[in-house]
């Protein structure tokens, strides 16, 4: 077996070479991963096994770690750059693989330094609709990074950066980064609509059947990620039900339907029939796509990122449990039932904030993994969560508070909280260490390193 875990004669090897060529524009050969020659690593797949153990509620050999496998367990590009410098890794600009939140790609060398056990499989299309290809240099806040070739921006007179859907500068901008700040926010482009003439198809434009090209890309990228070492967590998209980050569709040039965040929230109260129509059709398309994906990749992936809709706020929730059960639950159950019947994938659900009141419903629907486990929100005490749900939900996150301790605390405070959270959440498996959501810009590298070192300490590796 080669360092990348593949065999030269296999189809997956050919797919791997194609992946390397397209991503890094090199003539790839054996032992190349991420454009760089890698030593033989982790042939026995310990990382994958420990993740599989923990997501099946068995005690793993140590607490597994995720940084960078999803768009909600990642690290801001500026922090990735700082970490690369800290660990004295090869000097090269960070790739911004998720431009909406400006998340940096955690490449293999950094993944090793952070002892990460999970590899993400992403769609090539980003939230702004262009693909992660044809990398080009870009500078923001003094940091040189690489961005996708169609990452197209203009600057307002006030110095804010505007970004355009699909890189189309003739369209209205769909995202804005205030001057001196660190990520984009969606620009709401809500045309006037007649509330008596709403057409659910207008809110389904972004949910389409996959093309053969899409499937080829998914298969190639999954194969390339499958090196036998890490567990694979895939974000294929299309199954997020009313994820408010996606409602404004920053990827579309001319969104129609309800695209205003306030109007969407109002619709969950006053236009439920309309929402039902959207979700029903969206699930139909989403499951058909998942079936086709599964036909191509089988159980190569271990976990599927199903949905990022937030149901919690800092102190409460966006709706009552009865509303959730009426409006969302049937569709989550439908998707989870299909996935569990037809695949071996575990199902990952993200929900920020005070979300505990929905956990029983999530479990009943078939959700296996919950993220980000925002313990700073009301009702989200870690010991309470573990004791009540620990044998039925995998806590993917919750490792360190990202609102106060990680960005503003001392390294000692970070260490203390990480050790405590690992102690609480890791009993009998069911825990993958990650910060609570992405590591934000401005987080001191000393604190991030303290977090990593604390996990190693807990795992007996310090």
């Amino acid at each position: 077996m080669l360092a990348n875990g593949l065999f030269p004669e296999s189809l997956r090897w050919q797919q791997h070479l194609e992946y390397e060529r397209s991503r890094f524009r090199i003539e790839a050969d054996e032992n190349f991963i991420g454009g760089k020659k890698m030593p033989v690593i982790n042939q026995t797949g310990l990382s994958k096994q420990r993740v599989l153990d923990t997501i099946n509620h068995r005690t793993p050999d140590r607490v597994p770690v995720d940084f960078g496998a999803t768009a909600v367990t990642g690290i801001h590009a500026s922090c990735v750059a700082a970490l690369r410098e800290h660990f004295q890794l090869e000097k090269r600009p960070v790739k911004v693989h998720e431009p909406f939140q400006m998340l940096g790609l955690v490449e293999d060398d950094l993944r090793q330094a952070l002892c990460v056990d999970v590899q993400g499989v992403f769609r090539r299309g980003t939230m702004f609709g262009f693909k992660t290809e044809d990398w080009k240099p870009w500078c923001f806040n003094g940091l040189e990074v690489l961005v996708p070739g169609k990452f197209s921006t203009t600057i307002t007179p006030a110095g804010d950066t505007l970004i355009y859907p699909g890189g189309d500068l003739s369209a209205k901008p769909s995202g804005r980064m205030p001057k001196g700040f660190h990520f984009f926010d969606a620009i709401i482009r809500q045309d006037h609509f007649d509330p008596d003439r709403l057409n659910p198809e207008d809110n389904l434009e972004e949910f389409q059947p996959l093309t053969e090209e899409d499937l080829d890309e998914i298969a190639a990228d999954t194969a390339a990620a499958d090196r036998g070492d890490c567990a694979l967590l895939a974000s294929f998209g299309g199954t997020a039900l009313g994820d408010i980050a996606l409602v404004p569709t920053p990827n579309l040039a001319d969104p129609r339907g309800i695209r205003d965040v306030t109007e969407w929230y109002i619709s969950t109260r006053s236009r439920r029939d309309y929402i039902h129509q959207i979700f029903s059709r969206q699930v139909e398309i989403g499951l058909a796509n998942l079936a086709r994906i599964h036909a191509r990749i089988g159980n190569t992936i271990d976990i599927l990122f199903l949905c990022g809709t937030d149901f919690g706020t800092q102190t409460s929730s966006f709706c009552s449990v009865p509303t959730f059960r009426e409006l969302w639950f049937p569709y989550y159950k439908q998707m989870c039932d299909w996935i569990h019947r037809n695949t071996a994938w575990k199902i990952f659900k993200h929900s920020c904030g005070s979300s505990e009141r929905f956990y029983e419903s999530f479990i009943e629907a078939g959700i296996d993994v919950i993220n980000p486990v925002q313990c700073s929100a009301v009702g989200m005490d870690p010991e309470f969560l573990k004791s009540k749900y620990g044998d039925r939900l995998v806590f993917w996150g919750g490792g360190i508070d990202t609102q106060h301790i990680l960005p503003f605390g001392t390294p000692s405070e970070v260490r203390e909280q990480v050790l405590r959270r690992c102690e609480i959440f890791s009993k009998n498996g069911g825990f993958v260490f990650n910060a609570v959501h992405n590591v934000q810009a401005g987080t001191p590298v000393a604190n991030i390193v303290a977090m990593i070192e604390a996990v190693k300490e807990f795992n007996g590796e310090a």
């Binding site: 804005r176 205030p178 001196g180 700040f181 660190h182 926010d185 965040v261 306030t262 929230y265 109002i266 969950t268 109260r269 006053s270 706020t313 800092q314 102190t315 409460s316 929730s317 966006f318 709706c319 009552s320 509303t323 904030g353 990202t402 609102q403 106060h404 960005p407 503003f408 934000q440 810009a441 401005g442």
Partner: protein
Amino acid sequence: MADLKKLHDAVLNGDAKTAVAVTQEAIAEKMNPAALITEAMIPAMAEVGRLYECEEYFVPELLLAGRAMKGALELLRPLLAESGAKPTGHVVIGAVKGDLHDIGKNLVASMLEGGGFEVTDLGADVAPEKFVSAIQEKRPQIVCLSALLTVTMPAMKRTIAALKQAGVRDRVKVLVGGAPVTPEYAKEIGADGYGENASVAVTLARQICAGVPGFGDGKYRFNSVKIV
């Protein structure tokens, strides 16, 4: 005769069409515009706040009620100005520099308006100097700062510093709020109050204005403003 109970219930239930229709009827009948506010809309929004605090109402219900209230208020504003009716107080509100998230701030603004306050909403991504100008121009009693993000919280401190530098800090009470904001942070940056939600913000604003001569009972009660 326009039914104030119907207006009250329309605001409470987020029924903007009915709220506007009843208000139009009341205006046609030359009802006292202040009466619609004090006898229907303020009690309705107070009940909305109570239902939100006890988690029977959530963000969507607040947004709907706020929309119904605003629809009615838009019709009454010109008439209120003519009649010389005084608001409960004047609040300037905005999301601080760098923060584009405004739903929470909008909810607070709606609840304050529904509570009888005059509100100057500066929007989102508001520079400190814009808060300074608003204080100099509008002479509010209260300034509300909102931040949803950890990375924009420091802008609250910079805004308060800008108010001090401009010599206007002592003219206002500064209330802060937003998901990552805590009472401890509010104290650390020198704010006067912290509201964990829109309803608390209105309560604090009322306490503040009750201590200002010319409003409420006129007793000076700034010292009783509570940092929750």
